[in-house]
Every structure is written in structure tokens, then in C-alpha cells.
């Protein structure tokens, strides 16, 4: 039986959505602490996420056309990156030039080498922070576009989960359950947006049961045994450069990539 088309979250709710995304991203970013030493890396990465979300939200509250907030947000992130990570290369300090891009490439290369060489927890040097900042900013822009721009908050979970999964990808079993709970709650609240109101207690009940059961059930399910003979190729999404961080960090482990024999 056809179910009536439900309109997505209303435009006026976009600040609420941005707030939820901000909290979820903060928790995901904080969850990275298991990978990196010290706390200085947190401020710039957090700042990047907030910058991307705020630019889009401000642009939206000025009643800009639907496609503009994402563009403004991306341009803002690029300008700040030029200013901070490739100083004195940009036109008027913020407009990236060929020289800026060369500098970015260089940073990527150093980060790759650095990640490959270090063990967890890694020392967050400038190239690594650069990669993290850009990755988080891309995730935030995509999440914002999906949740508010395209009004499908369910899909916004993809970049969120990708970011949340980074520690889990790199080292098994070190993820912070607190980050998991905060992100899960924010995600559920995002799903709630635009739905009929008046089911507050019910939403709480379903959410609580699902979150608690998800945390407790693994205890009774068969244990997840770390598998060291992996397939060699790690999962690559191509969306988020932060993921390559994990691949590279794991490259230090010994594993069978290929076996062959001749007759």
C-alpha cells in the first residue's frame, strides 16, 4: 500500500540539524584520540569541522539557493587551508595557486611516509594534522549536503560512520564507546527531524533499547577474532582521505599479500 510522501526536514530546522552534526563530528573527532598522541591536534581538526558546518549553515540562513552553501563551505575550507598550511603561496593569501597545490602535494607525501613509519599512537606532526583536517572537512561538507541540502539525514550517516570507523580500521578494539554512543544518539535525533512530533517517549525507548542492546549483545555473540591473514587489500572508500591513513598505518604489519606456486 502506498504510503504518503513524507517531506524531509523543513528548511527552518537546518540550525537544529547543523547542531546535531556538530556534536556528532565533535564526538567522532574526539574518538581519534586513541590514534594520536597529545591533544594539540584536536583544536585545528575540530575547527575545520565547525568551519565547514557553520559556513554552510550561515549561508543557508541567508536564504541562498540550495546549492550555494556547499560551495561556500568548500571555498572557505580551501581558503583557510591555503592560509594556514601553505602560507605566502596564495594570491591575496587565500586564493590557491599552482605553488599552493605543490605544497599540498608535498604535505600529502610527507604525511604518507610519516604514517607508514610511525606506530600507534602516532605523533601528530603538521602533515598528519593537514590530512586529518582536510578529511574531516570533506566529511563535514558531504554530511551537511546530505542532511540539509538534500534533506536525507539517513544518508548523512555515511560520512559520519566513515569518520567514526577510522580508529577501528587502524587498530582493532581500541575505539571509544562514548564516541559511539554520542554519534548514535545524534544520528537518531537527525532521523527524527521532520517526522511527526509527539512520540518523544517512544523514540527514546526505541533508541535506548537499540543502543544498549548493540553494546551488550557482542558479549553473548561469538567473539570477533582478529584475523591477521587478511586479504591484503584493505577496504577503500575513495571518499575520505582519512581512511588511507589507516591503510598506511597498517602497512607496517606483516601479512601475506600473494601466494603462488609453479608447477
Amino acid at each position: 500500500m502506498p504510503v504518503p510522501e513524507r517531506s524531509g526536514p523543513a528548511r527552518s530546522q537546518h540550525w537544529w540539524m547543523t547542531g546535531l552534526l556538530a556534536v556528532a563530528f565533535t564526538a567522532s573527532i574526539a574518538g581519534l584520540h586513541v590514534l594520536l598522541e597529545g591533544g594539540e591536534w584536536f583544536a585545528p581538526v575540530f575547527g575545520y569541522a565547525m568551519l565547514a558546518l557553520l559556513l554552510a549553515a550561515i549561508c543557508r540562513s541567508l536564504r541562498a539557493p540550495a546549492w550555494l552553501p556547499t560551495l561556500v563551505s568548500a571555498a572557505g575550507v580551501l581558503a583557510v587551508t591555503t592560509l594556514v598550511f601553505a602560507p605566502r603561496t596564495g594570491l591575496l593569501l587565500v586564493v590557491p595557486t599552482g605553488e599552493t597545490l605543490d605544497r599540498f602535494g608535498e604535505l600529502f607525501a610527507i604525511a604518507g611516509r610519516s604514517i607508514g613509519a610511525q606506530a600507534v599512537p602516532a605523533d601528530p606532526n603538521q602533515p598528519i594534522v593537514f590530512v586529518l583536517c582536510l578529511g574531516v572537512a570533506v566529511a563535514a561538507i558531504v554530511a551537511d549536503l546530505l542532511a540539509t541540502g538534500m534533506r536525507s539525514p539517513a544518508l548523512a550517516g555515511v560520512p559520519l560512520i566513515t569518520l567514526l570507523a577510522v580508529p577501528g580500521f587502524i587498530v582493532a578494539g581500541v575505539s571509544d564507546p562514548l564516541a559511539f554512543i554520542v554519534v548514535a544518539v545524534c544520528y537518531l535525533a537527525m532521523l527524527r527531524a521532520g517526522r511527526p512530533r509527539g512520540q518523544g517517549r517512544l523514540s527514546l525507548a526505541i533508541a535506548a533499547v537499540a543502543v544498549v542492546a548493540a553494546l551488550l549483545l557482542p558479549a553473548v555473540l561469538p567473539e570477533v577474532a582478529p584475523d591477521r591473514t587478511g586479504s591484503g587489500q584493505s577496504v577503500s572508500t575513495g571518499v575520505n582521505p582519512v581512511l588511507t591513513l589507516g591503510d598506511d598505518l597498517r602497512a607496517s604489519e606483516e601479512r601475506t599479500v600473494l601466494e603462488y606456486s609453479t608447477a
Binding site: I161, G173, A210
Partner: protein, 429 residues
């Protein structure tokens, strides 16, 4: 939408996962697989959450207790085709818990079969409201497209879980009957000159005490037969006078309606709830509704004869008559007592006007009508969607005014066409 089988209650609930719910479930299962294959417990937790959410949501929409009863009142209760009736819908929540929040749609038997979805608010349950069931009231407008007696309902309430992962449609028990009568069109005055325009009850008293001549005569009016002129009174008054005792006979009008299934070539054996059995028959019934009302308003004593088993109420009881017009169907059973003339009327006495609404009637009926032409001052046949003009020719030769009609023609059009036909027949003779 499937028709519920008779004798079995319709499936009262449909529940399914939404696209969002399916996506979450699939991602959840994949994450659990990834967890076991790559040995990463975080993915097990995340996957379980994503899988549990749609499962819980589905269970909730599938098994939560919903007990709603809907009742409707129609204003007006009897509505004409294409006219509007206001439906007042009262939905009671009989469950102890609150009703789900969602959208309601009411079902009716004409396309598009449901109303546009509107918000269905929370109705508190008995537990929260004391002993009486809480109720909510909705209004909407209904414009029936077909004549008949229809069931409106049941009400469908669509609701989902708060996260939009699963949807359910639940029916609120109860449907109500609405009677849809054919539209009565105000027929043009004077399009067809009827023998006498006023009936006995509405006759203004023109009696004077001058003498015997005066008491029984009135002035000549257009359409009166010359043989009815009272010459003595005419001489006395200095203007044409006619005998008034003839009045009674001429204020009668007879309508013959063909209701036999075999006489309609577009009859499909039986009608369905959303499609009439025969469009030609629908036209006939609609025309009889307008014609009988036109004649009755002008004081005619209208007698209705059906060729099939009698179904129509007497026109003297307007309410019952309207209802019977809503209900009348084609029948296979001919009326053995069918008579062109009013029961007990003498064939050699003039009996006013006769209107026959026919389609593909058999020769026997056509012959009877043709033979009885002389008993009436005016005889008009409306032949709906005939295969050949042969029967119209037979009737025309006998002196009937014949109008050929197609089901899509307007009632007024046919009425005016009959007037034109009458004029040309007069000019021809």
C-alpha cells in the same frame, strides 16, 4: 487495492520497512560481516545498532495495539452525482494506549479511491482519558461521480516509527452508506410544448357564477387541441375557450423506462463498484430523474412504467423515489404487468403525454408503443445509443417524436432536441 473477500474481515494491517529501514538493515548486516571477517569488534557494535533499529521499528509498527473506529455523517445525506457532500468523520480510539501519529486517508469507491493523506493527530487512549473513548473529528468533501448506493470507508491510518524506518497502514473499522442520486437538470421551460402546462391541483380557479358554460371552460392556450374548443363558450366570451373537464386527462404524463438488460447493447452483465454496467442505462435513469421532476413541478400526475421488474417507487413519494433512482439496476426479469397505458385507463381516451426512454428495445415493445400512440396527445421517445435507426423509424411513422441520444449527450440537449423535432414534425404535417 484488492477487494476484501466477502465474509472475511479485510486485512486490518500492513507493515513494512521503509527504504530507509532496509538501507540501515543492509548496512548493519554488512558491518557485522565485516566485523567477523576482519576481526574488528567496533564494527559488530555499529552493525548491531544499525540492524536493531529497523527490526525494533518494524516490530513496533507491526504489533502495537491499534483499535480505531471511524464513523461518518454526510451532509447532505443524499447527494446528487457531481454535487458535493460534506463528510464528517469521527475516529474513536478504543485502545488503552494512545493512537499512532501519522496520516489518514478515507477510501471511497470512485477514482482515485482515497482522499489525499492528511495529518492524523495523537488520540489519547482510554487509560489516559478516563472511561470514555477519546475521539477526533475530521471533515472533508466528497464529490461522487456515479449514481448508486456506496460504502465509504474504511479509514486507513498510515503511521511509522519515529525514525521513519518502518511504515504501517492500519484500517479503522467502519464504513458508511452514501446514497448518490442522478443529477436533476432543470429542463428548459417551453422547449417542448406539452399538451397542457398546468395540472389540476395548480389550476387557478377561473370559475365564475355566470352559467354552466363558464364553470367548465377556460381560455384557449397554445397546444390545446382544436377538437376541445367549446364553441358555445367561445361565442359567449368572445375568445377561444376549451372544455375544462378534459384537463384531468391531459395533466397526466406517462414515462416508460426501459430497464431490461437485453435492451441495452452496452450492458456488461453486471456493474462493478467503480464502473456502471451500462452508460446508456445511466443516461436513461438520469434523464428520467430530470424529466419526472420537471413534469411533477408543473403539476402533472406522472406515472412511471418500467419494462423490467418494478424497482422505482411512486413519484408521489419524492424521497423514496429519489432513493429508488439511486438504486435502480438493469434486470433480466421483464415486468409481466407492463402496460403502456395507465392501469384502468381506456385506450380510446386521450391520456396526455407519454415519454419513452429506450435503447435497443425489442420489436414487441416498439410495436406496442407505436399502437398506443393514438391514446396520447404527445408522444416523445428518447432512444439512447441504438444500433440501427429502424426502431426509431417505426415509432416516427406511428407519430412519435423521436430523439436519438448518445450516453455522453447532455440531458438538456436531448430535451431541446425533442422540442426541435416536434417543431419539424408539425411543420412536416
Amino acid at each position: 487495492m484488492a477487494e476484501p473477500e466477502p465474509g472475511r474481515p479485510p486485512r486490518s494491517r500492513v507493515a513494512r520497512l521503509s527504504r530507509r529501514g532496509w538501507s540501515l538493515g543492509v548496512v548493519g548486516v554488512s558491518a557485522i560481516l565485516v566485523a567477523y571477517v576482519t576481526g574488528r569488534p567496533e564494527f559488530l557494535v555499529g552493525g548491531l545498532l544499525l540492524l536493531l533499529l529497523p527490526v525494533l521499528a518494524f516490530l513496533w509498527v507491526r504489533f502495537r495495539r491499534v483499535s480505531l473506529i471511524a464513523s461518518r455523517t454526510f451532509l447532505p445525506e443524499v447527494v446528487e452525482v457531481q454535487a458535493e457532500t460534506r463528510v464528517r468523520l469521527v475516529v474513536e480510539n478504543l485502545a488503552s494506549g494512545a493512537s499512532p501519529v501519522g496520516y489518514w486517508r478515507d477510501t471511497w469507491p470512485w477514482p482515485p479511491f482515497v482522499t489525499a493523506p492528511s495529518a492524523f493527530p495523537l488520540i489519547s487512549g482510554r487509560a489516559a482519558y478516563g472511561r470514555d473513548a477519546a475521539a477526533e473529528q475530521f471533515d472533508y468533501r466528497l464529490r461522487p461521480t456515479r449514481r448508486g448506493v456506496f460504502e465509504v470507508g474504511p479509514l486507513i491510518v498510515d503511521f511509522g516509527d519515529p525514525f521513519g524506518l518502518a511504515d504501517s497502514a492500519v484500517t479503522a473499522v467502519g464504513s458508511n452508506r452514501v446514497v448518490v442520486t442522478p443529477a436533476v437538470v432543470e429542463l428548459a421551460e417551453g422547449a417542448l410544448s406539452l399538451a397542457i402546462d398546468e395540472g389540476p391541483t395548480r389550476m387557478p380557479t377561473r370559475r365564475s357564477f355566470g352559467g354552466d358554460d363558464d364553470t367548465m371552460t377556460r381560455e384557449y392556450r397554445r397546444g390545446d387541441a382544436m377538437r376541445r374548443v367549446h364553441w358555445r363558450a367561445t361565442a359567449h366570451h368572445g375568445e377561444l375557450m376549451v372544455r375544462q373537464e378534459e384537463q384531468r386527462d391531459h395533466a397526466e404524463a406517462r414515462i416508460v423506462l426501459e430497464t431490461r438488460r437485453s435492451a441495452y447493447r452496452d450492458a456488461r452483465g453486471s456493474g462493478t463498484v467503480d464502473q456502471a454496467e451500462s452508460e446508456a442505462f445511466e443516461w436513461s435513469v438520469g434523464f428520467v430523474a430530470s424529466l419526472s421532476s420537471h413534469l411533477a413541478q408543473r403539476g402533472f400526475q406522472v406515472g412511471l412504467a418500467e419494462t423490467g421488474r418494478p424497482q422505482l417507487a411512486s413519484i408521489e413519494q419524492p424521497e423514496e423515489f429519489r432513493l429508488s433512482l439511486a438504486e435502480v439496476q438493469l434486470t433480466d426479469q421483464p415486468d409481466a404487468q407492463f402496460s403502456v397505458l395507465r392501469r384502468g385507463a381506456r385506450a380510446d381516451r386521450r391520456q396526455g403525454s407519454i415519454f419513452a426512454v429506450l435503447s435497443e428495445s425489442d420489436d414487441e415493445l416498439i410495436d406496442r408503443l407505436a399502437r398506443r400512440r393514438t391514446s396520447f396527445d404527445l408522444a416523445v421517445a428518447f432512444v439512447v445509443h441504438p444500433r440501427t435507426p429502424r426502431q426509431m423509424a417505426t415509432l416516427s411513422r406511428a407519430g412519435w417524436v423521436c430523439v436519438r441520444v448518445e450516453p455522453q449527450d447532455g440531458v438538456q440537449e436531448a430535451w431541446v432536441a425533442a422540442g426541435a423535432e416536434q417543431e419539424s414534425a408539425r411543420a412536416g404535417t
